[in-house]
């Protein structure tokens, strides 16, 4: 082994195991040479710690917080409470947002939507989600999720990073850091976003939700864009075709190699490799995002919206294509679920956007044999209140933020299908059985990916920082197949 090779290997290993800011060779990242990254053992030298049940995750984030009692957590007994004040025995003085804390009373707003039981599992699903109802036996409901935050920004940040405040890595970037990429030509963590039709001024999203926090920046999620280049700066400038780009990269590579001969810095070799990877991405990403090759019956499965780039339906189909290419963490964010007023109308729009494509994604993955090792998660950042925000009528009401209970759906790799965990009280206000924290959900996701969540850590400010925090996250064994 020559000294330079030795330095190269050392640097790589040192980076992957120790450094917070790159060593001589600097960051290799999830994008380069995954074979080597994994051969070197990724940061998780002893991974897998557990049997790998899911090779990848498709996380369908419903941003703004869907109403659990209008979708999956029926409370027929509430009809008798229509307009009556929420009993203090239920509210127990728990804090409210200042949007409703000034209300003189908290009138119970029963859901106006009909529920029925579906599949052999007899799962209760609202009439708003007929397509999801058709795959009821694939789904696992956790009706007892809870969170600490009560406002959107801290709540969604908490879900994504395990902390309410900015500065911490998102779950996808933890995976990129821990496992690297399984695809030579694509990043480990891809983000897709869509606006909802249920509410025009949707809650916004922020870069930090897929950011790498204190992890090296190449572990950030790569957000695919809905207009222009799907990946920023992917296209060559007009006037430069792929042949000419190849020519420039050949010159560049040759000049960089000559410099490397002179200098001996392995960082130069890494840069050459990154430019080659960039060139490959220029072909692989358009191939990935081009839906023209999809047969009509598949497009039909996802519904009419699939033809509109940037729609939730198109993103679901894209998610399947990313899953086929072994992207580890695929995350959709669908905005527009924040229904403080006019909920019935707004939620219809949101369900129109998401019901058919979500069900289609499950069916499509299943028929391709991918559902078995793909974990699907569906949910928002908190729940909503049983009491109405603002005016209540039989057919119109709004609901405020509610962190104390809400429903998350799981499906696929390693998940017990047709199962429901947890229960809320008659008002869907407090959990009465099997509470599940966000940390528990994170630990469970990691567990299915073969990771012991204690061991996915990074030295930050002298501490072993983890996605699952310090308060004792538990894998939710009850939902495991």
């Amino acid at each position: 082994m020559s000294p330079h090779e030795s330095l190269h290997t050392l640097g790589r290993r040192a980076f992957l195991t120790r450094a917070s800011t790159g060593v001589g060779l600097a960051a290799l990242g999830s994008l380069i040479d995954p074979g080597l990254t994994r051969a070197a053992g990724s940061v998780l030298a002893d991974w897998p710690h557990r049997p790998i049940k899911a090779k990848r995750v498709i996380y369908l984030f419903q941003s703004g917080a869907p109403s659990q009692m209008d979708l999956f957590d029926p409370k027929p007994q509430m009809a008798a409470h229509f307009g009556k004040d929420l009993p203090e025995s239920i509210r127990k003085g728990q804090r409210l947002t200042t949007m409703t804390s000034g209300q003189k009373n908290f009138p119970v707003a029963p859901s106006m939507f009909k529920f029925a039981q579906h599949g052999q599992s007899r799962a209760w699903i609202s009439e708003l989600m007929p397509h999801l109802a058709s795959v009821a036996d694939e789904l696992c409901f956790i009706k007892s999720m809870h969170t600490d935050a009560i406002n959107h920004d801290p709540a969604i940040t908490f879900f994504q990073t395990g902390r309410q405040l900015a500065g911490f890595p998102s779950m996808g970037s933890w995976l990129s850091y821990g496992l690297g990429s399984a695809n030579q030509d694509l990043p480990a963590y891809v983000v897709l976003t869509s606006f909802g039709s249920g509410r025009k001024d949707d809650q916004p999203l922020y870069d930090r939700l897929w950011g790498s926090g204190f992890l090296p920046t190449q572990h950030s999620g790569v957000k695919f864009r809905n207009t222009g280049d799907p990946v920023l700066y992917l296209s060559n400038p007009a006037g430069m075709d792929r042949t000419l780009r190849r020519d420039t990269l050949d010159q560049l590579g040759e000049l960089n190699r000559q410099r490397h001969e002179q200098i001996g810095d392995p960082e130069i070799e890494a840069r050459i490799a990154q430019y080659e990877m960039a060139f490959r991405m220029q072909a692989s990403v358009p191939d990935l995002t081009d839906l023209k090759s999809e047969p009509q019956h598949v497009l039909d499965l996802y519904g009419p919206d699939v033809n509109r780039p940037g729609s939730y339906a198109a993103n679901c189909l894209l998610a399947r294509r990313l899953a086929e290419r072994d992207v580890r963490f695929i995350q959709l964010f669908h905005m527009g679920w924040d229904h403080h007023g006019g909920l019935p109308n707004a939620i219809r729009g949101q369900c129109r956007d998401t019901d058919q494509p979500t069900a289609a994604l499950i069916k499509d993955l299943k028929q391709r044999g991918l559902l078995d090792d793909t974990l699907i998660v569906w949910g928002g950042e908190f729940g909503r209140t049983i009491y109405s925000q603002g005016t209540l009528t039989e057919t119109n009401y709004g609901r405020d933020h509610h962190p104390r209970c809400f429903t998350v759906l799981l499906a696929g790799g390693g998940i017990k299908p047709g199962f429901t965990l947890g229960e809320t009280d008659d008002f869907s206000y407090n959990i009465v059985r099997d509470p599940v924290s966000i940390y528990d959900l994170h630990a469970t996701m990691l567990h299915l990916l073969g990771i012991d969540h204690h061991r996915l850590s990074y030295k930050f400010q002298g501490l072993d920082a983890r996605l699952t925090g310090v308060e004792g996250a538990k894998v939710v064994r009850a939902v495991l197949a």
Partner: protein, 1041 residues
Amino acid sequence: MPTVRPLLLLAAALAGPAGAAERLQFNRDIRPILTENCYYCHGPDANHREAGLRLDVREEALEALAPGQPDRSEVMARILTDDADDLMPPPDSHKKLTPAEKETLRRWVAEGAEYQGHWAFIAPVRPAVPAKQPGARNPVDAFLLARLQAEKLNFAPQADPRTLARRLALDLTGLPPAPALVESFAANPTDRAYEALVEQLMESPAYGEHMAAQWLDFARYADSHGFQTDSSRSMWPWRDWVIRAFNANLPFDRFTVEQLAGDLLPDPALDQVVATGFHRNHRINGEGGIIDEEWRLENIIDRVDTTGATWMGLTLGCARCHDHKYDPISQREFYQLFAFFNNIDETGVIRGASNRTGGNPDPSIKVPDSEQQKQLAALQVAVKTAEAAVRDAEAQLPALLAAWEPGFRDTLAQNRPQWQPLSEETVRATNGTTFTRLEDGSWLAGGPNPAKDTYVIEAPLVAGTLSGLRLEVLPDPSLPGGSVGRNSNGNFVLTRIEAEINAPGLSKPQRLVFTEVEAAYSQKGWGIESLIADATARKAKRAATKGKNRGKGWAVDGNTRREANRAMLLTEEAVSVPKGARLTVRLVHDTLANHQVGRFRLALAGAPPESVTLAGDGAAPADIRDILARARDQRDASQQARLNAFFRAGFDSPVKRADAALAKARRELTAFEDKLPSVMVMRELPEPRPARILLRGEYDKPGDEVTAATPAVLPPLPAGAPRNRLTFARWLTSPEHPLTARVWVNRQWERFFGRGLVKSSENFGVQSDPPSHPELLDWLATEFMQGGWDMKRLQKWIVMSAAYRQDSGLRHLPADFLARDPENRLLARAPRLRLSAEAIRDQALAISGLLDARAGGPSVRPYMPEGVWDETSRYGDLRGYKPDPQGGLYRRTLYTIWKRTAAPPTMLLFDSPSRETCTVKRSRTNTPLQALALLNEVTYFEAARVLAQRMLQEGGATPAKRIAWAFARVTGRPPEASEAAVLAAGLERQIARFRAAPAEAEALLNHGHAPRPAQLDTIELAAHTVTANVLLNLDEVVTRE
């Protein structure tokens, strides 16, 4: 295959030998093992201490350790046992001691288990400089060489002068050196010329910009508030202060005190208050439904964390919820520090409209520049003058009033109604509506109801005065729902009312400008005020609401309120009406389709506007009539005052004119002040807010009250000094403080060598990496303090050293050393470092000649792909980003507008933090997304095209000369023959290619706004652009060698 072994070897090598003969040292040999494996459960955190055992304090650990008797030591027994139930650390902690670590601990106990305090908490003592060795240029070298020579190594040879010139320029200014500078230094690379170059670069205005860029990361500076809505704020005056401070070489102690507590200095200058913007740069939440106190506390905690990280290299935030796990910082001490920052006159949140539209929550100040200060002074004088004129005029008030009263009483006695209906008017519409006159004089609209229509009413006027127009809208059974409007729901939206007077004596129609409006009823969001919003305000509103119709006219809920309604519009002063005049009134319906008024009637008033009421029940309110009815000596003081005010406001007189002049002067002053730049600053409350420990760090779980104090492990505050921010800031830079100088010195080392002497530059606590050269660190720290905290002088020690001037190549180094020092901590060569995000872009602009070097001012908008701000947000005022070709495209990168939730993408790709929280160290990555940006992003591709233009215009007559010219511009050196050959062959291929496809050449040149000289041949230019694109992507170009 090597394993991690060489790193451990290095660690041992760096820490010095711990051979069998030498006694172990706690800080070097033991502390790292204990902190990593034991302190989590047996450390400073009292609430998380297992079995009551504390190992970080010798007195408390003695019994369990049994110094000198390792065989009787309980600690050793638990470490060495095979029994998994007893083993320490416990298996479920995932911590494990190696056999070597166990043996080290055993030996330490055998040697007596002596402790040492953590080095970073003990004030540095100036060490002796090692004897001068050959190759050392200054004391910095002496320390480094002593260490290297212990390894039988030496410095690498000095780098090539061109490399040195480029290295210095990029390190000190963030810009490449001017080619002439490189040439002149290369021609005469003496020590003296080197020093002159250093000084010249440090004096350049670009120096302060480059130094400031990093400080902006520490300060979490941005142009937006950072949470959910992420609307705009104005903090750039603070940013400009930082640039000026670095350029003026403000000593670091003053730099510290002014930013943390400039407002508390005696009689602070404006600049010293602006400096306190440092701790208003944190994010501020404005999300609907938040609880103010929760977010105010978060902001203060952010200030404590940021202060700890920036000045002391401490991770104070770890003590927010519980005692620090490793460092001797208790939770109580965290909240004692918190108390210093808790007394600002602030709500902690954004309130009201500004969450959507942006702005600076209080406290904030206006920051006029020197020219604006002059204008401001003039306007203030004008106000003073007008105030004096009012006082003078007031003296005449009693006489004026006495003269006015009788006549006015007569007017009242005549008791004419204020509103006179129009007479002999004609009514028509521009778009087809027809009108029927009803018996009460009102007009009923009929015929087709067009989408939009304007009603035009014309009528003769009686000579005299005109001050008001009243519109009555009336319900009619023929209208939808029997209401007042023609829309199917019975409503209308009146967009505006225009009125003008025509007269034979007037050369053009006189438009009536209404300044006051009132309606009996307005629909929410459709107020009558919008009828007089002036044209510019209306335009702005229209732009802001984009297609939404709210606020664009007057409506009356006609769908539910089917009632008569009326509104009046008044001029500021009564207007005189000449003989033979005619009035034209236009009722414009331009907002919503079909929303025309259904039935209406107009009336006019001529009395002074102040006296006109909507009801028109007389020229004076009832109380004035009462007062007037009394004889003067029958009125009490308040009645007389009321009458005075009525007269003064409503009737022309010298007093009224003086009042108007004063009001105008004040308006002008306010309008000017409103337009001045503003910056958020610190302003202390008169009485401190009580500070309490927050249990588990939660805002709604307050515990004991605490007062401001510093942690016990650090030096005490001076006795008797007030416990405020100013005392705290001075304490930070007191000579006894063990951290501040070391932390800053270490950051400078990191800046120039890529890695600090303490590698964990973000953490100097117990868990930090030990310094590679502890004596050098302390020498620099003490030298820095004794030299008056002179920042430039400190940097000069570093860049003048032989160590800094070394070659950065790796080829000459012995193989075994590479294996031992892969991180180059001993500095047997200079480091090669990828440039920062800012420097990469600034360099491309500078090389191409596009750079716009203007300093300071509001943040600017360079190229950014469409949709970056809008793809994930429909909130706030930072949306619809458009690059600004009028001066925004080519400014230095630190002036780019920064929206925290969607930061500039090329900045993020090159490892910049999001600026949401204090970040004291950036990673330095190497990714394909960076390659795509440098190859294709318009800034870089335009820079390539403009560089190509200059190759053709300035680079010489032959391709070879042009290539050499451009190569020297991008790298600072001439190309090797083999390098030139690669580029020449490429250029030739490209010329042939574009000859065959000229349209492609044309397309290739069509990127960016920079002009393209018409005389240049398209084919040649396109081919050279491709070459320049290659050059700007060279590893050497994005690297400082």
